[in-house]
Subunit: 588 residues, 2 copies
């Protein structure tokens, strides 16, 4: 089954193959991809479309001397298979050896641990610059998808490469006419024009950036690609090689449903149907999508802005169409999404920016300067905020509170139930005084009655009045707090106080002060790193008082592919361990 | 002297003037600019170059119904003069009424409080989108300088405007062939080509972004500009109006020395010489420039990367030339600067990225993902980190520690003397394990002996061993700590401990633990906001112990144009006030 792949043990092995064998190798690599992806899921379309290009690159160039930098690196599976890591694809017991992204810890053929978009040209430009300073000779190749070109970092890099690097630098633009969803942005009209004219259009975004340019229509044809890469190998200046590929090539269902097949869960190869059961439970993704659709109907000033990834809150192509003018996808361009929202709020719209927590980091400065200094009522809604959500080191949601809770005027709301979540959304969108960030719950859906008004900034809610110990359980860890107060009662014989802080960015000084009367210990629980986060604000508040504070949360650390339940155990965040610690702190 | 300006009291007044009068008005506005700038300084070149364009815009369009968004807004002085705020320029007693940037609190003609670059197109695109949703009719105009086009946010916005807005949107590109220093980037070759061909070149970065385009060569000629703006007024789609202007026009010295005259201190109009005395004292800018020049000579792998603003650390054009291949200015492109540095470090160079604290916020994600996850030894050197440096709300350095000290693996060093600063620079550049951020001291230069090795991460230094009270005085507030321990000794009769933490991002748990023996109070002093910063990490460390902690620093707040000494007083940060508080906390 993997006859040719058996002969691939290191990067140079592919060079020994004939053209016919390379074509067969491509078939085998797709089989290996199917093996992994049908069983554990992962990025589908990007890898299926780049099999030929990655074979051709390794055929022509010499990794690791020549250096490849993959953008996002969600298309690097064929490269991994070709550089000694096929076991992670063909041996079901060894899937976990492979991270799903490039990773220098796995192989010298991987230069960076990458997971965010639009970084490859910038990173590679630095490799090239250092190479030149040291007088070394090697090819430096940045690979980037068309969808990633809309990100500021990528365009800054094209601009710099177009004038400041006067040496070997090869940018392979993998144009499959898609981001995760369809592309958005004027440059995609230009890419279409370039495809239509076989790269001959006089108006050319890449040459306008000062770069040399070559077009390759047959981006899934190995001999054509080899010829193209041979032409640019050892070139003495920067050049863009624009290759036209088919996303998901080799699996008809994926070719026809490119957005859905960007990424996949385990599936049945015959039907494309998922083989894991999601159950029929309500989840926060569908709750969010429903909310957006209803709100848009009721309120014509409501505007949804997505920096690509509408799917992250369940907005299907049909829903986007139905939203019409009230929906704008700016492409992968978080800075634009947030600054545009500020402008829209200024002129009286009610903008909601939606993306994943890890990607909002891209727009720290715009949130601070363009939004918060101006006090414009932008609502930013973040998915995958929980430590239990995405566990790849490049996609962690655990830094959000620490990063954003220290920006003045920004109110971060951490809902702990469905009603609270929906009420917070309503409040945030209908007020016009505060920039608000809402953390979509990562837990299973639960519900309780919740307030509708959050205009008293920093107002915590006492859910259960008790004594001695007060548990402040934020957002996704509210349920953990409920469980802890029960355990304390059972084990220690008194009823502690349970508080739902609701705000991750502000503290309720009045309530905290009042706790001093009949409490001696405050316990904080937060779903994020402790440094710079919520609990440390509480600790600082009580730092000159007699009250002790115990902060529970994650360490300031780049965790990678962990088991969430195991991690909680390690952190002493089980009921038993916390009760023991509380006993110790109370001197019992 | 201000004959015509006397007739300008509101925005519409300029419409009543004849063409001749408009030319004379331009002369008067330059006189008004001279009046303010010779006396209190400010942005020179950007305003002198845009007098005609802003007159023409107000002549053709109707602010505030039509909405202008200025990029950086350092070129908005003529606009301010034309919209009811001439007193801030011609009346020496009223200079302080004008912030130097656009400011909605000053006037309804200012839409945003802006100070960072590359934001205007994004912000304006949001205004336009909301206008369309609400079915309003108005022109939305974004003004942007050529230098700002290299920033990711601006290019993301061009891309979105080029396809997602199908309505009135006018982007005025003020091309004066300069950023603060010379431009860097491939698009500037394209702008040159467009200037050379009077906008007729087939390859056009703006049309490649999907935008309509118009070129105006005479960018300082009022009738030409009026004609151009009349053509685009009420246009039904986005268009770029590319105007060619002369930076600093109307003052020969500024026209000839554009970089130096981007911004000015008070000066003598005849000679251009500053009228304030800087003294001959050594300052950290010249120390930094000297260090860079020497280090570059000694170490050929040392690479300086500036996202524009080389002047912020005193790198003159001559110095940059001397640095040769070891210097790269990426233009206004912080994301590229930092990611490129990561790549350069990966291939063995020793990159130093230099900019102002407030601008490094632009690259939060790249510092976290491109640099820190990868553990590449990039050194980021930040100027204007102190609360006493830049006091405009858009340029505050007080958020740096809170923003960056919670990113794993990033070591933030806060030197407290010249030797410590230089030793930290040496250590940071010559090691290859840690990403490091160094805060350039904002104080007058002082010196003490300092360690050369900072590889023990988070190792604090006891500068004076004492008892009862330990003062942790970070970076720029080290001298305040020295003064405080003397005041405590004098007033309270015992010798407290003085600690120089050196690290703003990590704590010395061993040393902190040891303090418990003979101290009951720890006082922290930091030059930044308290939320998420250094002191709260100390408070959290001691939160379950008997030790009390008092954090001194700034509030989480967008301060604006304050008096630093007054602010310290308000915050209770004088020796007297702090001694009183310490007495209170010790129960004395």
């Amino acid at each position: 089954m993997y006859e040719l792949m058996e002969r691939i043990n290191e990067a140079a092995d592919v060079k020994k193959f004939s053209m016919d064998e390379l074509d067969k190798l491509a078939v085998e690599i797709r089989e290996a991809l199917f093996n992994r992806l049908t069983k554990i899921g992962g990025h589908f379309g990007p890898n299926f479309g780049m099999v030929e290009a990655e074979i051709a690159l390794h055929y022509v160039l010499c990794s690791p001397k020549d250096q490849f930098v993959f953008d996002v690196s969600h298309q690097s599976y064929p490269h991994k298979i070709l550089t000694g890591r096929k076991a992670g694809y063909i041996d079901d017991n060894r899937f976990s050896e492979d991270s799903g992204y490039t990773n220098p810890a796995e192989s010298e053929h991987d230069l960076f641990n990458v997971g965010h978009t639009s970084t490859s040209i910038s990173l590679a430009s630095g490799l090239a610059k250092a190479r030149d300073l040291k007088g070394e000779h090697r090819n430096v190749i940045a690979l980037i998808g068309d969808g990633s070109l809309s990100g500021g970092e990528a365009m800054e890099a094209l601009n710099v490469a177009g004038s400041e690097l006067n040496s070997n630098f090869i940018i392979v633009v993998n144009d499959n006419e898609m981001a995760i969803a369809e592309n958005h942005g004027g440059i995609y009209k230009n890419l279409a024009e370039l495809r239509k004219t076989q790269g001959k259009a006089a108006n050319n975004i890449f040459t306008a950036f000062g770069l040399d340019y070559m077009y390759v229509e047959k981006g899934n044809d190995i001999p054509t690609l080899i010829e193209a890469f041979q032409k640019v190998k050892d070139i003495d200046h920067p050049i863009v090689v624009h290759i036209h590929t088919v996303k998901g090539l080799g699996y008809k269902i994926a070719e026809e449903h490119k957005e859905e097949w960007h990424w996949c869960v385990p599936f049945d190869r015959n039907t494309g149907a998922p083989t894991i059961d999601f159950g029929n439970c309500e989840d926060y993704t569908s709750i969010t999508a429903d909310y957006i659709m209803q709100k848009a109907k009721k309120d014509k000033k409501f505007l949804i802005i997505t920096p690509a990834m509408p799917g992250s809150v369940g907005l299907s192509a049909d829903m986007r169409k139905e939203l019409g003018d009230q929906y704008i996808d700016v492409g992968i361009a978080e800075e634009q999404a947030v600054a545009m929202a500020s402008g829209a709020a200024k002129n009286g719209a009610k903008p909601l920016v939606v993306t994943n927590t890890t990607f909002i980091q891209r727009t720290y400065d715009q949130i601070s300067q363009d939004v918060c200094i101006n006090g414009n009522a932008v609502t930013i809604l973040l998915n995958f905020t929980s430590f239990a959500g995405l566990t790849d080191v490049t996609h962690l949601g655990i830094f959000g509170i620490a990063a954003f809770s220290n920006i003045p005027k920004l109110q971060i709301l951490a809902p702990s139930s469905k009603s609270e979540y929906l009420n917070m959304l309503d409040w945030a969108l209908d007020q016009n005084e505060h920039p608000v960030m809402i953390l979509i719950p990562g837990n299973e859906v639960t519900d309780r009655e919740a307030d509708t008004d959050y205009s008293q900034i920093g107002k915590f809610k006492i859910e259960k009045q008790g004594e001695k110990v007060a548990v402040l359980a934020l957002g996704d860890f509210y349920q953990m707090g409920e469980s802890l107060v029960n355990a304390i009662k059972e084990n220690m014989g008194f009823e502690p106080t349970l508080i739902n802080p609701r705000f991750a960015s502000a503290i309720d000084t009045e309530l905290l002060k009042s706790l001093e009367e009949n409490h001696s210990l405050v316990v904080t629980l937060e779903d994020g790193i402790l440094d710079g986060g919520f609990g440390q604000k509480i600790a600082a508040f009580y730092s000159t008082s007699e009250i002790k504070v115990k902060n529970y949360g994650l360490e300031k650390k780049f965790y990678d592919r962990y088991n969430p339940a195991e991690l909680l155990k390690e952190l002493g965040m089980t009921d038993d361990a916390m009760v023991e610690e509380i006993k110790r702190l109370l001197g019992k």
